[in-house]
Subunit: 271 residues, 2 copies
């Protein structure tokens, strides 16, 4: 198995493989020399993506979503005709489009393990990162069924709960449960950052609400842009909701304020 | 010492007193028969607020902000002329206005221990709830200096970091660091609740961002309404920020998206 990209997710795949499937040969490559050095603890490290892929049965590309097509193009000369290929990105229509860089896109299956963190990098990886977490696996019309089965079995073997979806349905779903919360957190944190608030007084609410805003813009800007057709209308709805609550507060309308807070409480308590 | 109201904060005060100052006599009253029953574990329980206050050197009213004036009015016949009175509410201009229900408002000092939780009730209280947490203490022009000193010493003795502020400055500060994050979380959760999202796929980001939305509307509707003049403009700014990010996404403006996310990351990492 070959992992291309050794950040939080890539290093977690390597650690999980080393722990759960020690008999499986592991190869890795990373664009960063620092991460390549770290990857040596869990894999044989190659100097190019193509070299890392030679002989692999499964290639896992664990890179920012906007670099996937380029990475697969670099890896293409090394990917054998019987290898399956997957990724770990947070958008899946873009991932299937990027798969056209492969010699045989029918052997590509999209993956999205729901296990990111605002703390990235190889040092943050954990062998149990996928344990009990959802992992969406996506296929396009041309995807080989055996490719999908192999990728599903791979994630299940790392402990993930596999859920199959169409790429578009995935992107619509994560726009609501991940990309909108992230965007909301960023907007709130950016607003507060412009105001020099009394953060020394803050309790857990501020920290929780803004936690994901600490995520790396290099990862998140491409995600939000690739899924903009889903995320932008949700941000419009958020703006409308904020305006509705503002107006209810401004006119002292306790019933309207209560209706919004009660809907929010009911949703959160149902999680 | 007398605690009126035995929810999360009131029961935590009683527990902390029992643990840190076991020699101090503790009396309590709660409007709820269930909480009165529980309060017996840490205090002598009275059947009226006035009875609970008789002989107390310090009365701590731990009730929703919109019930403070009524509670102080009920307690008034039992509050001695040498007693100091404080509260624990999240808005402080309203608390000082409510203090006019007392025979001697100059003996009232506002308190806001920054230690709430979305999980309320006597069972959630903890003796160490205030340990290391900020506690804002507010005074008005007429407040007796010895009352402020007594209330500051009280919170410090429970482990809190005491911070003195004017009521209006407090309300402006917590609008940013607490009330806006809460309102944002509620708006986001209410929006998602109307859409039946795939919460089964969600990771920590959704849970963190919406955690405080689980708070009790009976507590939070009055807080937001009492501080509406500060919170409403911030919600307007949030709506503007969400619209700005929406528009940047819609036109594929990576630089504008990155600017927002980077400002948010910088604020969060600075916390």
């Amino acid at each position: 198995m070959t992992v291309l990209g050794v950040g939080l997710l890539g290093s977690s795949v390597l650690r999980a493989l080393a722990e759960r499937h020690p008999g499986v040969a592991r190869r890795a490559w990373s664009r960063s020399a620092g991460s390549r050095g770290k990857a040596g603890a869990w894999a044989t490290v190659a100097t190019t993506p193509a070299e890392a892929c030679r002989g692999a049965d499964l290639v896992i590309a664990a890179c920012p979503v906007d670099t996937l097509a380029g990475l697969l193009g670099e890896a293409r000369p090394g990917i054998g005709s019987t290898a399956f290929v997957t990724d770990v990105g947070s958008t899946k229509r873009g991932a299937h489009a990027a798969a056209s860089a492969l010699a045989d896109p029918s052997r590509f299956v999209g993956s999205h393990p729901m296990a990111g963190s605002e703390r990235g990098g190889a040092d943050e990886g954990r062998a149990d990162l996928f344990d009990g977490r959802a992992c969406v696996v996506t296929t396009s019309e041309g995807t080989l069924p055996e490719a999908a089965r192999a990728v599903e079995a791979f994630w299940a073997s790392l402990g993930a709960r596999v859920c199959k979806m169409e790429p578009r349905a995935h992107d619509a779903a994560v726009a609501e449960i991940s990309h909108l919360p992230h965007a909301t957190s960023s907007v709130l944190a950016a607003l507060l950052g412009a105001r020099a608030p009394r953060a020394d007084l803050a309790a857990g609410g501020l920290r929780d609400t803004t936690r994901v805003a600490a995520g790396d813009p290099d990862l998140w800007v491409p995600i939000l842009l690739e899924n903009a057709d889903h995320v932008a209308p949700l941000l419009g709805a958020l703006a409308a909701g904020a305006t509705e609550l503002r107006d209810a507060l401004s006119r002292g309308d306790a019933a309207a304020v209560r209706a919004i807070l009660s809907r929010g409480r009911d949703f959160r308590r149902g999680l």
